[in-house]
């Protein structure tokens, strides 16, 4: 096909003045460009490039690395963190980055509420003087030194700081802009904000005074919203965009066969699963839940609907996360075994259930509907009649959270690469009604997870999580399905693009040929 990026509909006049402009096609528009106010990945995709965080994640993992903080020390008890800041950094508006600026950012965040700054609440427990607020104080102890004191130890504290919402913004700018800061973001990142046309494009351009030498390489990046997957692929094929997010696995072949295109795999940090609501019959019986695990042929699903670009899951979290228990043997596909278990549970004649399938593609499950169809067919082999039900995404989440589904497809993408962000959030009894959609409750598990939250010793902490995974395996509230590898595609002229597991990619080292 004639899809090299120079030809196509736009013709050769597109490259004006030899500037390097990267067009990044993605599935949706950003909500706001003030990272602390939002929770959606499409916003972070942009803000990641406008703002820097104190701590960075690794290039393609969630190991922590120096960011705006060039160095840091934690106290023994895990309650005090001292950060040395990078010197010679300026914000896009020309003001200096220093300890005062960091303190100002923290103060701004802590003065908010859950409505304004939802992620702050999720990650640091609360605001201001609230009991649950983990951070006790943030002080500038020098021009380039900041000390943060915690009320109680928080194991993933540094990882939290590396998350995109906590990008450091220019205090001058956000004080001046107030509410509208989201429309005029100012950070220290590799790119400056230029223009935002809602539901269409966000344009950012090279920040010449970026503190990392030689970066960024691009002159301009345009994020372009193309909600329809096929349309986005078509745009890539015709050269209207250079990079496309959210490539459907089924299209990977097309891209690989096109000599002008390359495929990028985003390292997996997610899990897609079939949740079994443990309060609803017959899934209140662990035997039935195990039977479900045996009845479903995950490998076939992964092969067909993830096009093999996923790893069959056996645990609720992906292997890249430390604390992953690889010694657990996943339930093998064994319809006979499943029937036996069902018989033991008194359901030799099978039963009828609703199987909820999500209506929208998610990174952890590119096509819920099709996975559901495959599961439906597997279940019918063991005598279970599943009716596929779907709601609109908003309704789906609400109803699932209310425990109205028998079994539902869902998934999770890690925020900070910590085990807590999977196991506690998704399966702890504290989160029933919220992200624990299965209403799964286990006191023993709860105790382990709570302990792990404050355990600062890495090995001891991992041990706790290993145990937790065993309990979950036995109780089988889920049928873990896959850890998918989300796909991106770009022209072969795109160099050094590294997809990040969190879903927001820093484009400072990317170049165009």
């Amino acid at each position: 096909s004639g899809g090299d990026s120079e030809s196509g509909g736009e013709g050769g006049d597109s490259e004006s003045g030899g500037e390097k402009v990267l067009i990044f096609g993605r599935g949706g528009d950003s909500v706001s460009l003030d990272p602390i106010t939002v929770t959606d990945g499409e916003s972070f995709k942009v803000t990641k490039n406008i703002f820097d965080t104190l701590i960075n994640f690794g290039e393609q993992d969630t190991e922590i690395e120096a960011g705006l903080a060039s160095d840091w020390q934690a106290s023994e008890d895990g309650l005090t963190y001292t950060f040395q800041l990078q010197e010679g950094v300026t914000f896009h508006d020309g003001t200096d980055f220093n300890a005062e600026a960091v303190v100002a950012n923290f103060e701004r965040w802590a003065a908010g509420d859950a409505d304004q700054f939802p992620y702050y609440k999720s990650m640091f427990g609360g605001f201001g003087d609230e009991e649950e607020h983990v951070i006790e104080s943030v002080e500038a102890t020098g021009d380039y030194e900041v000390v943060i004191k915690l009320k109680r130890p928080q194991a993933p504290f540094l990882k939290n700081l590396a998350m995109s919402p906590f990008g450091i913004a220019s205090p001058t700018a956000f004080e001046e802009a107030g509410e509208s800061f989201g429309d005029n973001p100012v950070g220290t990142g590799p790119f400056k904000f230029v223009e935002w046309q809602r539901n269409d494009t966000v344009t950012i351009e090279k920040f010449d005074d970026y503190w990392v030498d030689g970066e960024p390489k691009l002159d301009q990046v345009v994020f372009r919203a193309i909600p329809d997957n096929s349309a986005r692929l078509n745009a890539l094929l015709s050269g209207e965009i250079d990079l496309a997010d959210g490539i459907t696995p089924s299209d990977s072949e097309t891209i690989e066969n096109d000599e002008n295109l390359q495929l990028f795999e985003r390292p997996s940090m997610n899990v897609g699963y079939l949740g079994l609501t443990t309060t609803r019959e017959p899934f209140d019986d662990p035997k039935v839940r195990q039977a479900m695990n045996h009845a479903i042929d995950r490998q076939a699903i992964v092969d067909s609907f993830f096009e093999g670009r996923a790893e069959v899951a056996k645990n609720p979290m992906p292997p890249v996360i430390s604390g992953y228990n690889d010694s657990i043997e996943g339930y093998e596909y064994d319809p006979e075994k499943a029937k036996e278990l069902l018989a033991e549970a008194g359901l030799e004649d099978g039963f009828t259930m609703e199987l909820w399938a999500m209506p929208v593609p998610r990174p952890y499950m590119p096509d819920g509907q099709k996975v559901a169809e495959a599961i439906q067919s597997d279940l019918s082999e063991v005598g279970i009649t599943a009716e596929i039900v779907s709601y609109e995404w908003a309704t789906y989440l609400e109803k699932a959270a209310a425990g109205e589904a028998d079994a539902f497809l869902l998934g999770w993408t890690g925020d900070n690469g910590d085990a807590d962000n999977f196991l506690y959030v998704l399966l702890d009894q504290d989160n029933i009604g919220s992200n624990n959609y299965t209403y799964y409750e286990n006191q023993e598990l709860h105790d382990l997870l709570i302990e792990a939250q404050t355990e600062v010793d890495e090995d001891a902490r991992n041990e706790l999580y290993m145990q937790a995974q065993e309990i979950i395996h036995e109780d089988a509230p889920w049928v873990p399905l896959a850890h998918s590898t989300p796909l991106l595609a770009g022209g072969t002229n795109v160099i050094d693009f590294k997809a990040h597991p969190t879903g927001s990619d820093k484009l400072s080292s990317v170049d165009l040929e």
Binding site: D251, A357, P359, Q369, Q376, S377
Partner: protein
């Protein structure tokens, strides 16, 4: 005179009612007959087709995914390795079902409202007509989407939504027809005989306002099928694994490049069915609407 009477008597043997007359007119139009042929073909397909299809509609065979058309699978297979021919054949049942039911629903509701408005006039008319105005001012696809969002996506709810958005069309049509028939002389003569109003409504006005409703209904079935497909395409109609044509199109969109047959056949099926109804509707219009006669 005697001769004419005899000829007269002979002619009278073929007693042709107005419907028969219309049928005769209908038969004369080639396109209309072709249209009806297509429609009948799809109806037969819907009824008997599934008995003869090579494979069950939901029989998955992941090792046979996305096979191009061949002797075994005339229309190839889809991403579950299901036989597309079987699914397209079964899909006729769904689409026709949706088309007919949705239109019957809107005709019934629209007729009742339209007759009330047209015959009783005054404030009844004002209220009903305003309601129609409101509904017509809505972008209909958005209204359908909103209705499905409220009820939850399913074939049945898509059907309800389509029926709802079509109500004002029929309502208005019948209202105006009733208004014009009300002024016809045979209504006057029925009144002169001493007939009661509601009886006039049932035995004179209703049957005479049916012709345009039948025409419009046939055409509306066509639109309803497309609307159902559009909702299916948006994921708001039939749910997996149902072989609804719109849904099939949506499901196979990502294979357009490497397995185009997954998109071509359901698309062609929709087009043909809709074309059939449109042709038939046109023919009916010419046969039933004397204004169109040359």
């Amino acid at each position: 005179m005697a001769e004419t009477a005899a000829a007269d008597k002979q002619e009278m043997q073929k007693v042709a009612g107005p419907w028969k007359e219309a049928w005769r007119g209908f038969r004369k139009s080639k396109v209309a007959v072709v249209g009806m042929g297509i429609v009948i073909f799809f109806i037969l397909l819907a009824i008997f087709g599934p008995l003869f299809t090579p494979q069950g509609i939901n029989e998955q065979n992941l090792s046979q995914r996305l096979l191009p058309p061949s002797g075994d699978h005339w229309m190839g297979t889809d991403d579950f390795g299901r036989d597309i021919l079987s699914r397209v054949v079964y899909g006729a049942r769904i689409s026709l079902w949706v088309g007919f039911l949705a239109v019957i629903g809107s005709v019934v509701v629209g007729s009742i409202l339209g007759i009330l408005a047209g015959y009783y006039g005054r404030w009844v008319d004002t209220i009903i007509s305003r309601l129609f105005d409101i509904m017509l001012a809505f972008p209909s696809i958005l209204l359908a989407i909103a209705v499905v969002s409220v009820l939850g996506p399913s074939l049945r709810n898509a059907l309800i939504a389509i029926a709802i958005i079509n109500v004002p069309n029929f309502g208005r049509l019948i209202r105006s027809k009733v208004l014009s028939i009300k002024e016809d002389e045979y209504i006057m003569s029925a009144k002169a005989i001493g007939m009661k109003d509601n009886r006039i409504l049932v035995s004179h006005i209703l049957p005479n306002s049916m012709a345009p409703v039948i025409v419009q209904g046939t055409l509306a079935i066509a639109t309803a099928i497309i609307e159902a497909a559009a909702l299916g395409f948006l994921g708001l109609g039939a749910q997996a694994p149902s072989p609804e044509w719109g849904k099939m199109l949506a499901d196979s969109r990502s294979y357009l490049t490497n397995a185009p047959w997954t998109m071509i056949f359901p698309g062609v099926a929709i087009m043909l069915t809709v074309l059939g109804f449109n042709l038939m509707g046109d023919g009916l219009r010419d046969a039933l609407d004397p204004r169109m006669k040359s």
